[in-house]
Symmetry: C2
Subunit: 297 residues, 2 copies
């Protein structure tokens, strides 16, 4: 049984770790929340005391984390993984980070002769629960060769986006830009429909089979219809992800008019107190502005 490490057992990380167990790997994991770690041990995994303990047991470590701060802490903080990894190890990093960040991490790891794949994952809230993910990965061919079986076990589809660390995060950022616009657009479309007297269920039924459909329209509008804003991705996540895209574009002096408009809608939703609600709760901005009646559970 090959050893592999996972740090971060949120919904996505847990799905990753369980997929690796199913594929026959011996999986060493760390998460700062004891109950989460215990439930993973109950599923057949091995608990480690900290990221360094994971790193010292494996040649490949997968980080499924939220942001730059978490990546810094897990790799380079106290009892961090970087110093404990063997020479030639591969770090697979999945996190929502600015697209220039992976290159700096890669350089610091290279000083220790550790390779890195920039490998954000997609499918959270859609498919992660079923263990079906896609990975948008870039990095050196040697790292891909080394991690091939691990990636295969985790993801339904691995998009190999070039040898340069950073391409994965760039394309993931663009994916999130579209996710955010499409959610805000779905909210705008349904809200207008309600205002002009359409049955929102008819709007959903007709459009989800027509040219106006998007993955987000199809997935999120049923939550509006059910009055249920409790799924895992949040308004705050969209404020962050569209903000990341706007920041990157600004550094490149590049205008993003639709992204900016969508971002403002999510910021308005967060300002109204819905930051931790599901992303499509952005439709409540229209409720507050116009008095439309949304379906309620």
């Amino acid at each position: 049984m090959s050893n592999v490490g996972v740090v971060g057992l949120g919904p996505m990380g847990m799905a990753v770790a369980r997929s690796l167990l199913s594929a026959g790997f011996s999986v060493h994991a760390f998460d700062p929340r004891p109950p989460v770690l215990e439930s993973f041990v109950a599923a057949g995994g091995k608990a480690a005391a900290d990221p360094a303990a994971v790193a010292s047991a494996v040649d490949i470590i997968v980080l499924v984390l939220a942001n730059v701060e978490q990546v810094e802490l897990v790799l380079f903080g106290p009892n961090g993984a970087a110093a404990a990894l063997p020479v030639g190890a591969v770090v697979v990093v999945s996190a929502a980070v600015p697209p220039d960040y992976p290159e700096t991490v890669s350089k610091r790891l290279a000083e220790r002769d550790v390779l890195m794949l920039d490998a954000p994952m997609s499918g959270a809230g859609l498919r992660a629960a079923k263990g079906v993910l896609s990975i948008m990965a870039s990095g050196p061919p040697a790292a891909f060769d080394e991690a091939a079986k691990v990636l295969e076990a985790i993801a339904e589809k691995v998009y190999r986006l070039g040898d340069e660390v950073g391409q994965g995060s760039r394309i993931k950022m663009i994916n999130q830009l579209l996710v955010g616009i499409h959610i805000a657009a779905a909210a705008e479309a349904v809200a207008l429909g309600i205002r002009i007297g359409c049955d929102p269920r008819a709007v959903y039924e007709a459009i989800s089979h027509s040219a106006g459909n998007s993955v987000m329209f199809e997935n999120r509008v049923p939550h509006i219809l059910a009055g249920d804003y409790t799924s895992s991705l949040s308004v705050d996540t969209m404020v962050r992800d569209l903000g990341t895209a706007l920041d990157a574009a600004r550094r490149n002096t590049f205008p993003l008019p639709l992204t900016a408009a969508a971002h403002q809608q999510f910021v308005a939703a967060a300002a109204a107190g819905d930051g931790s609600a599901e992303d499509v709760a952005v439709i409540k901005v229209f409720q507050a502005q116009t008095g439309i009646r949304l379906p309620i559970r």
Copy 2:
């Protein structure tokens, strides 16, 4: 063989008329362009001299037209269809019109004891060429009963959106609002990708299978990659359709921030001389603003 009429033999109207021929109807058609009408006769259809001549031969007439002006002319202009239709006939109207317009037409037809279905079609440029359309229809049950076989012959799917004429056009308008936003968003996403050094083909490959996908992203981005802006729907169409949605929203004092941002992008593209180019040529706005290099044929 049942008789049925079709007025308007553009790409969508021709697909409709041919589907009716295939289904065994005797199809009487009018189009002001003689060569178009001749090609329909060659396919087995019957040419009429004007809308009135079509109307006097049938109990059901399908209008596949572009806008209000055309509907007015075909129904109520010189040699128009309305006065020539028999009592109890059904007019199936597919056109891009403001959502309050169908009701006024319906009332004028009712004075002649003629029924109407508000039945915009979707799938142009995607599926019309293959004879596979969806229809977003509303109107009185008696009209649906009468036209059932005709609708079935035309469309893969008929969405029955209520008894009230106008619902079909309202939901079609909302569909077009999303189509326009999604095209402008696809252009914005690909343009940003080019600017920050992504391979646009990798952007397409990864995102078209991920949460950021939309029907428009999947359908239109290949045209950007091919540098081919010659498909049938145009920038001008989007200027019109998003404008229709903005007008309707304004009459209802309803804000549409993403629609407005997308509309401005199409207006900018039209201003630069690309009005008759394919809708996704809206990406050239970014080329002009930022100097990005778009793929060329």
